[in-house]
Symmetry: C2
Subunit: 332 residues, 2 copies
Amino acid sequence: MRKILLSIAVFGLMSVSAAAQADPGDFIEPIMPPQSINLGMVDLGKKLYFDPRLSKSGFISCNSCHNLSMGGTDNLPTSIGDKWNQGPINAPTVLNSSLNLAQFWDGRAADLKAQAGGPIANPGEMGFTHTLAIGVLESIPAYVREFKQVFGKDKIDIDQVTLAIAEFEKTLVTPNSRFDEYLLGKKDALSADEMAGYQLFEESGCVACHNGAAIGGNSFQKMGVVEPYKTKSSADGRVAVTGKDADRFNFKVPTLRNVEMTYPYFHDGAANTLPEAVDTMARVQLGKKFTREENTKIVAFLKTLTGDQPNFTLPILPPSSDTTPRPTPFSK
Amino acid sequence: MRKILLSIAVFGLMSVSAAAQADPGDFIEPIMPPQSINLGMVDLGKKLYFDPRLSKSGFISCNSCHNLSMGGTDNLPTSIGDKWNQGPINAPTVLNSSLNLAQFWDGRAADLKAQAGGPIANPGEMGFTHTLAIGVLESIPAYVREFKQVFGKDKIDIDQVTLAIAEFEKTLVTPNSRFDEYLLGKKDALSADEMAGYQLFEESGCVACHNGAAIGGNSFQKMGVVEPYKTKSSADGRVAVTGKDADRFNFKVPTLRNVEMTYPYFHDGAANTLPEAVDTMARVQLGKKFTREENTKIVAFLKTLTGDQPNFTLPILPPSSDTTPRPTPFSK
């Protein structure tokens, strides 16, 4: 409980009961469209995001596991990587990930740029190396020209690649959810049940961790505050980054934006549905048991958090040249 | 050689030398935009084409192997299927596939609708069953509504699914290549080298099989007419469909539209580059050896066949419901 209270304290020195009466804007802010975007870099980053040639197999791109047709996730408990490797943890959504205080469940990457290089070189994900990926890009004339146009340099390097992908990802915010319409003044944007669900969400303490523009993503919290969370996952959480035992089973609080689309839930992907996720959260984080009716209302509120999904033309990738190294999906 | 001459005969009772002097329109026609398209069905089919929930794993969609960012192919010699299964044959491009006389390399599917159901239920591709796929779709309210809107029926069935996917695929034609501009009257659309390459393509007999609007796709021909084609592939070709020994190693002639993007080449994906593919074709189909200069010119011509690539907004897929059966990527 201490962590939750601390978190509340940070968020305005209010108690949970005060929170319930506060203006919602105090806890949850609407998502704003991205600012200061480099459009040339976005266009390049979009191509790279969809390009499976950044993987050893030529089959897996960023979009394979953070699928922009599916809420920026793969909708699988854990992801499928090179040679059908079963990943250790649920793929978090890329949507609104620019709002996170850090990237990955354990926050081991400081920002999107630092994150983007990880999966490319992870043997269980895209299975490639940065050097080989750069070699592929350098062999494709249209990429060479586009990198030069965007970065003004003669050589492509991994910093340019991850910077471009990160710039594209910064555009993947999802404003204009019905709840944001409500926050911005359209007081009838939510139905009575949805409003009641929002009140429960606030009063019960969910908002202690799920707050800010992303309704999450801005703190690390222990999974299982009141009651231990039982899981088959071996993920240790933030302790893997800090080495501090106090950070064991601490995970980045996931965003609740577009949560209707980002099933299954939790770092182990063990909860298939929103009613199940709400029930488990109430039990292990808050020591509460919602009635079926309360659960339904909270879920109704959560479904108002679905915003504008990515809206762009499918990128067309420049073809490989005769000298481009070919993918090796079936070799070691 | 008999097959080539026969093919020429069918195509206007002209000899190869007459062909060289003929109006190019006699052999190759420009691609026309699709007509009589059902737009509601296209929108639905586009979603289904991108939906990995039609696979057992929840990871593989039509677009995985016929990637519309990459010339409608996966740019791999043979495809990756469920559990990283190595497919037996090169994935043909879906672009302009509506122009093919039949689908698959051996023509075992009469049309796009008949083709679309195959990979879903193939254990080495999407690994699912039609019944399970329909169960998934029936559990997703937004799909239920959209199918009802498009087909006017209360139940979804596999015929509707494959019909919608086929209707979407009919839109995947690629008009407005530079060569089509030439055919339609822009006489300076091609450079001198590209024109010379086109002349060589005609005079050498390539056009005997690669003709029509798709510059291929309209006949089955033996792979290795003059000289046996050496391959590690065990694919038998059209004999698997007809049972006739004369059809052994007969394959559907692939389209040359967008051939710059559809590497690697041949049914076994053994040729990585266009110069290599042209060289091999000349040797085993025509008994010819092009000089390096001739090869370069033919390749330059082939690169004028890249037309307008698919141009549409990335589809957003309706989320699963609480009752949607979940994918099982790691179970048997």
